[in-house]
Amino acid sequence: MFVLYRSLKYFVLLVWSAFVALPFLWALTTSFKTANGVVSGATYIPWLQYEPSLEGWKVLFRGEGKGIDIITPYLNSLTVTLSASFISLLLGTLAAYGLSRFSWRAGPIRNADITFFFISQRIMPPIVLSIPFFLMLRMLGLLDSRAGLVLVYIALLMPIVVWVMVDFFNNIPRELDETAMLDGCGPLETFWRVILPNCKPGLVVAGLFCIVFGWNDFFFAFILTFTETQLLPVAIVSLNSSVTPWWSLSASSLIAVVPLVILAFVIEKYLSSGNLAGAIK
């Protein structure tokens, strides 16, 4: 019975890992192929089944002539994603704390309505937002700039941070704030020194969401930038031509996914060290 259970467990794990890992392997082999290697049916083993080539990778780093320079969009994406995530996290967490701990009212509008207002921003389909964003950035002279994209991403990410964190703060007993105040903290000190350290799991979840969204966004980056500023997803798509260059697309996707894989490993380590579980109860 036990053996059966074990083998079943490993079988499921095996299938699942294949499911997760194979697309990456597929992209990896493809990135080393040339046109010939790709069109002649599925091949897997280099040198035996196809002749490996670095063409797909070279295209990404060739500054002059054909091909693109992937470094600049890469750095752009990093800067925009990290700044937007950081600012959203900072402002969103403060807003959420305020919404969770103090009562606000303006006429019939109360805390719950304000919270809903934040969340409702994400109910609209993004396409509805594209034109207003375009017009607003043009008015500010921020079209085709990193700052403009950061602003747009903050507008998109902050509601999610507020949403996640309000719920998180609501689950932290008020007595914790009160204890901190009794121990001599002012309101802001209470937040920084006592509440925030207790919120790591929530911050991790919200931050992860921000980074993944910012890093992967193609839609707004595509609409709001043209030539000066290019983000990674747009750069990757721009590789495409009448003959689809599968090799360089694969190579660039692999590069693009690296930061997220690293992030996944860091968080996995954080998760497994019991931080998430222990921090709440």
């Binding site: 914790l176 009794l182 001599g184 006592v194």
Partner: protein, 363 residues
């Protein structure tokens, strides 16, 4: 360490200026002397926590003023009042070690690190927490966590008062007893003003020198445990304190005595006190003071014995006076008549109440 004075303090959670009945804490005044051990006793929802929170500044009272040592602190924020408060459920800083938990109030006040270490060591020794100082606080048991909460108050030598809000709720019974004794010891040793909130009369009576009994936002009586037992100023106090509760019997006044169910009891002083009182009259006597005998006589009331409940070294005797239930608490050694008996109500242990409020026979 401070003398805490409340002047006409009341609180209403709804909009200010509401009706007095809506107040979670009805306005009242009282002085808590420096170094005293006080208890606040009352049923759930009667406003005990509200009361503590007003002292600690977590709630700003709708009306009235709070004074520490004569200084008006009504408008001061909690952080500036230097109060320690232990809540019903242990609150610890989960991300910190036990040592850092205890050190936190001092760090907030920018105390020197060497001094902090000295104070934390001292308090840890007092609370038997020395061996776990380096552990993460979240790994400790509930009662150790509660000790940390208390310790965070004790590390401050100049703390104005230590407020304990049902601190032993989550502690198992044996630990409860130990912890309560520890609290009492600390109170005597450190001379800190302590206010202990509970809905358990035994806890209140054993801990405190003075107990305030509350009901529905009103402070009913403040007195020593003995005063509360012997001379309840309100029928609620008589009913809430003591086990079993005080006998409360509806009555009317007659010439030279009190009528209970058409039977006259010669209680001239009480009758005189009640002669001009308005509102429904009630007679109150603790089961401990009801005298039972098998012989009729002057002032004795004939009753039926309905049930005898043996509670170890004493019996609770349920008596029936024409349909009115009266309880008497009699030591096991004393002989009991069977079925028919006569009871006497000694005047000095009997009280008369009008609309629940005790009438003083002295006036």
């Amino acid at each position: 360490m401070a003398r805490i004075e409340l002047k006409d303090v009341g609180h209403c959670y709804g909009p200010a200026g509401g009706r007095l009945e809506d107040y979670a804490l009805q306005p009242f005044s009282h002085v808590w002397e420096d170094g005293g051990a006080y208890a606040l006793l009352g049923p759930s929802g009667c406003g005990k926590t509200t009361f503590l929170n007003i002292i600690s500044g977590l709630v700003h009272p709708t009306r009235g003023r709070v004074l520490f040592d004569g200084r008006d602190v009504t408008a001061l924020a909690t952080a500036q009042r230097n109060i320690a408060q232990v809540f019903q459920f242990p609150v610890i800083y989960k991300t910190k070690t036990v040592h850092d938990n205890l050190a936190f109030p001092l760090r907030c006040r920018n105390v020197e690190e060497t001094e902090i270490r000295r104070r934390v060591q001292e308090v840890a020794a007092l609370l038997n927490l020395e061996s776990s100082l380096k552990k993460p606080a979240r790994q400790l048991t509930a009662d150790a966590k509660q000790l940390i909460s208390l310790g965070r108050g004790l590390v401050r030598e100049d703390v104005a008062a230590i407020l304990l809000d049902e601190p032993l709720t989550v502690i198992d019974p044996q630990q409860k007893w130990l912890l309560r004794r520890k609290l009492k010891e600390i109170n005597t040793a450190l001379k800190q003003t302590m206010v202990y909130v509970t809905h358990d009369q035994n806890e209140a009576m054993t801990f405190a020198d003075h107990v305030a009994v509350m009901d529905q936002g009103k402070v009913m009586q403040i007195g020593t445990p003995q005063e509360l037992f012997e001379c309840p100023q309100h029928t609620f106090v008589g009913w809430f304190i003591g086990s079993p509760a005080m006998n409360i019997l509806p009555c009317t006044v007659a010439e030279g005595g009190v009528m209970i169910k058409d039977k006259k009891v010669p209680l001239p002083a009480l009758a005189k006190a009640a002669a001009t009182a308005a509102g429904a009259l009630e007679l109150g006597i603790r089961p401990e003071f009801v005298q039972i005998s098998d012989t009729p006589g002057a002032g004795a009331l004939g009753v039926d014995i309905r049930e005898i409940e043996n509670l170890g070294n004493y019996n609770i005797v349920m008596l029936d006076l024409d349909g009115l239930e009266i309880k008497a608490k009699i030591s096991v050694g004393n002989p009991l008549p069977d079925r028919k008996a006569f009871i006497r109500l000694p005047e000095k242990s009997t009280h008369i109440y009008a609309s629940g409020q005790r009438l003083n026979p002295g006036t």
